[in-house]
């Protein structure tokens, strides 16, 4: 019997396991499906990681490497090349691997850190032919950065999320010509810095309010048709632009990978596509926690690390019996302008000093205030000059404020409220 099994050895799993070890758990197992730890960071060879956590700018492999080294100094066990097939509600973990064999392990606590997957062409129903040469940006990134193969020579990228932008630069550096980055929304889904250093630096045009409306080519992509969209995101006839290209990369969103979570009967939030979690990242199944991109899609690995450390510490408290009980629960509602919040539930007496609350806005908001209300009472206000759906927002709610809340709390955006 393990104290803790962590499913996934990417940034979330690594940080969670390390934090749980530091808090005193001794029998910890990380189960990783790949042949090495580090998860998606291994293929994110660009820099820009770690500014918050390590106060220096690292590449993905370096960031992962630091945590892997930190774990080497602990007694945390790792099973690589091992896939978890099922977790049961009584915390049995069924796993299989070439050298692991088929094993069932029990744990006092489980941390779900499986990460996310990319949305595909099928998910957004792009019409056209079905040639080769249509890749999700992450799959192309793996080919280029880890396998050393270039997927194509002339590239159109649909979606301006960070992975799409990063791949625009990568394909350019590795010898391809990136003809356009196309975004259906009127704003980019990626970080501003990536628009500057991945598109502007290489004169790659960004077409906002445009989408791909046809893919041509029998065996391999030959042309991609891009059209302008109206404010309901419907293509406008007559605005078609034809790009001669051999490759279409898709960066059209990430979906938390929660098949194990659903199987285990854990309550899900349709807005995050992750489990509903409490302030300490515990799910509806006691002793099972979720952190990182499996809980909600993050933009910055530093925030994944911080969140996962909280989950790791909370799992340790759970196993060691240090968690306070008899909780009152506040539900966190999404008010105007807010797409989702994490956590979705807060137990004020379990908040140590402060409760971190993450959320995304559903539109670009300028000179606004984030309002936290409970019934008619406003319990906190946070001014923001600029917020965008592509950038996760973070506020900190002190325990004293939460204890004052009489009823469920609501997070909303009031625009033009502040100067």
């Amino acid at each position: 019997m393990y104290d803790l099994i962590v499913i996934g050895g990417g940034p979330a799993g690594l940080a969670a396991a390390h934090a749980a070890w530091e808090k005193g758990l001794k029998h910890i197992l990380i189960v990783e499906r790949d042949k090495e730890l580090g998860g998606i960071l291994n293929q994110c060879i660009h820099n820009g990681f770690g500014l918050h956590y390590f106060k220096e700018e690292l590449t993905g492999p370096e960031y992962a490497g630091r945590f892997i080294h930190m774990l080497e100094d602990t007694g945390v066990e790792v099973l690589l090349d091992t896939m978890v097939l099922t977790i049961t509600s009584d915390r049995q973990v069924h796993m299989v691997g070439k050298s692991t064999g088929y094993r069932v392990e029990e744990a006092k606590a489980i941390i779900l850190a499986m990460g996310c997957r990319e949305r595909t062409r099928g998910a957004i129903a792009i019409p056209g032919q079905r040639p080769a040469g249509i890749f999700t940006a992450g799959a192309a990134q793996r080919y280029v950065n880890m396998e050393g193969y270039l997927p194509g020579r002339r590239v159109v990228i649909l979606g301006s999320g960070d992975i799409g932008l990063i791949m625009a630069r990568r394909m350019t550096l590795e010898g391809a010509k990136v003809l356009a980055c196309v975004e259906v929304m009127p704003y980019s889904g990626g970080l501003n810095r990536n628009i500057v250093q991945c598109l502007h630096d290489y004169d790659i045009p960004l077409y906002l309010s445009h989408t791909v409306t046809d893919i041509r080519g029998r065996n391999r992509v030959e042309q991609v048709v891009v059209s302008k969209v109206d404010n309901r995101r419907q293509p406008i006839p007559g605005t078609e632009m034809v790009f001669d290209c051999d490759t279409l990369l898709l960066s059209v969103g990430l979906i938390p990978e929660n098949e194990l979570t659903r199987q285990a009967g854990i309550r899900m939030d349709p807005r995050t596509n992750g489990a509903v979690v409490y302030e300490n990242m515990e799910t509806s199944l006691p002793g099972v926690f979720a952190c990182g991109n499996v809980a909600h899609v993050h933009d910055l690995v530093d925030f994944v690390t911080a969140e996962s450390q909280r989950a790791g510490r909370a799992a340790a408290d759970y196993v060691l019996g240090a968690a306070p009980s008899s909780d009152s629960v506040l539900e966190v509602n999404n008010g105007d302008g807010v797409t989702y919040t994490v956590p979705q539930h807060i137990r004020p007496n379990r908040v140590e000093k402060n409760c971190d609350l993450f959320f995304r806005v559903n539109r670009i908001c300028k000179n606004s205030e984030i309002l936290v209300t409970s019934g008619a009472q406003t319990i906190a206000k946070f001014p923001r000059e600029h917020m965008a759906p592509g950038e996760m927002e973070h506020i900190v709610l002190p325990r004293v404020l939460l204890e004052r809340a009489q009823e469920d709390i609501t997070v909303s955006i009031q625009e033009g409220a502040s100067k």
């Binding site: 896939m83 595909t120 019409p127 040639p131 997927p151 893919i215 029998r218 065996n219």
Partner: protein
């Protein structure tokens, strides 16, 4: 000199090859693509129809009902996923109800067993997500679903195991009558055969015209589909049709044997084998399907595809000797998948009538099994992995397909040579991430086992290359 050459290895060609492989004959299949089941066979509704649709007296009527019964046996013998889920045809109006009565009578005449007319309530009681607007339904318990490409592959593999030759990448370019048979010109040289069977699908008219004057015209008709995630897989329990119209059986909503939901098809006339999808076509499919099952959640779509029906101007299958020793199996549109094994039997009868001696082989065997790791019990999984560790390495995490299954396919009678070839054999890449994760790993395994470099790997057909070459001045740098 071959006894029989079969042109085309879709479901019709494969079923015919399989059937003929029980006789002492030297048979070969010529397939122009790099794999079997690479045309309409891989892109259709995957339904084994009960047989109430075709006009009594037609070949379609006769071969559908017989084919459905044979398919059930064959799928069991050859380990092809098959589910006898039954089908409904829905009525939304008194006019539709009259159509159901017609279909019921046709079904009776065609010998379809167990047909029943249900009220709207009865239908909804059996399939609760059906529209409230449904007033009546025709229930056909013998309708089933299957994996069409695995069905074709299983038939072709078994034929090969029984001695049939399969020549891939072999496109027929001309047919010449010669003493005692035909000289078949291909891009891979000439083949001489006593009999030639034309099972070339959408290209059957072109092949026919190499041998005989025109007797039918193919009007390719494209059908577009949605495939939805397994989260939508139990939206319906039966195959749900609307009343058939002039363009066929219309848009259906059905479970698949892989646990997904399939929705489609529409019917667009197309000039050739154009398997694209269009915004209008997909829109039509979506809105039409929601009339039957309003709650289908299209946000769970994982793939769109289309297939081209080889409909003809004759309105029935074209199964006849078109010239001495030349047999057409043409115009095999729906219910062609269902009818295939019956078409094969009928083809053998026609060849026998034309002088081909059919002598049964004592050593014909009709069996096939493959490991489906996902479907095993924990104890079976544990045992298998202990014996063969490659089954412990999960390659496709959406469908839980293991390296062992891919290696097994590579050692099979018709090994895959493309990423989609692996998908059709073992299901890797069929799931919700559509190969985003397992694609590079499948390429790695294929390249290792086939001894080629990744820049020579294809997604599907020849020419569907995946990678340009190596970065950083590697050996395969271009």
């Amino acid at each position: 000199m071959y006894d029989v050459l079969i042109i085309g290895c879709g479901i019709t060609g494969a079923a015919t090859a399989f059937h003929l492989s029980r006789y002492r004959l030297k048979t070969a299949i010529l397939e122009r693509e790099n794999d079997v089941a690479d045309g309409t066979t891989k892109a259709n509704s995957a339904i084994l129809h009960a047989g109430y649709d075709p006009e009594p007296g037609t070949l379609m009527a006769k071969l559908n009902v017989r084919g459905a019964a044979l398919a059930k046996e064959l799928c069991a013998q050859l380990d092809v996923p098959y589910q006898p889920c039954g089908s409904f045809v829905l009525a939304f109006s008194p006019q539709d109800e009259a159509t159901l009565q017609d279909l019921f009578r046709r079904g009776q005449a065609n010998g379809v067993p167990e047909l029943r007319l249900l009220t709207g309530e009865e239908a909804r009681a059996m399939d609760p997500n059906l529209s409230e607007q449904v007033t009546a339904a025709l229930y056909a318990p013998t309708a089933a679903i299957c994996s069409p490409w695995e069905y074709c592959l299983a038939l072709a593999e078994t034929a090969v195991r029984n001695g049939t030759e399969l020549h891939l990448r072999t496109a027929v370019t001309g047919l010449e009558p010669v003493e005692g048979g035909w000289l078949v010109h291909t891009n891979q040289g000439d083949f001489r055969s006593r009999y030639v069977i034309n099972a070339a699908g959408v290209s059957a008219q072109a092949v026919h015209e190499m041998a005989a004057p025109t007797t039918f015209v193919i009007h390719p008709s494209r059908g577009q589909y949605y495939l939805l995630d397994k989260s939508e897989g139990d939206r319906v329990k039966h195959v749900i049709f609307q009343c058939p119209g002039p363009n066929g059986k219309g848009v259906l909503v059905a479970p698949t044997v892989h646990g997904n939901l399939i929705v489609g098809p529409n019917a667009d006339p197309v000039p050739d084998e154009d398997v694209g999808t269009t915004a209008e076509g997909l829109n039509f499919v979506r809105t039409t399907a929601q009339k039957s099952v309003p709650s289908v959640n299209f946000r769970e779509s994982i793939r769109n595809f289309s297939g081209v029906r080889s409909s003809t101007n004759r309105g029935d299958f074209v199964i006849e000797m078109a010239a001495p020793h030349f047999l057409d199996l043409a115009g095999i549109c729906s219910p062609g998948l269902t009818a295939a094994p019956a078409i094969a039997e009928y083809a053998a009868e026609l060849l026998a009538g034309d002088g081909l001696a059919l002598e049964e082989k004592p050593d014909f065997f009709c069996q096939r099994r493959r490991v489906r790791f996902h479907d095993l019990s924990p104890a079976e999984k544990a045992k298998l992995v202990a014996e063969h560790p490659a089954y412990g390495r999960v390659i496709c995490r959406c469908e839980t397909v293991t390296e062992g299954e891919i290696l097994e396919a590579l050692r099979g009678p018709i090994p895959p040579c493309s990423v989609d070839g692996v998908k059709r054999r073992v299901g890797a890449g069929m799931g919700r991430c559509q190969g985003g994760f397992c694609g590079p790993r499948v390429v790695e395994i294929l390249c290792r086992e086939l001894g080629i470099t990744p820049d020579h790997m294809v997604q599907d057909k020849d020419g569907s290359w995946l990678l340009v070459g190596e970065t950083k001045g590697g050996n395969n740098h271009v």
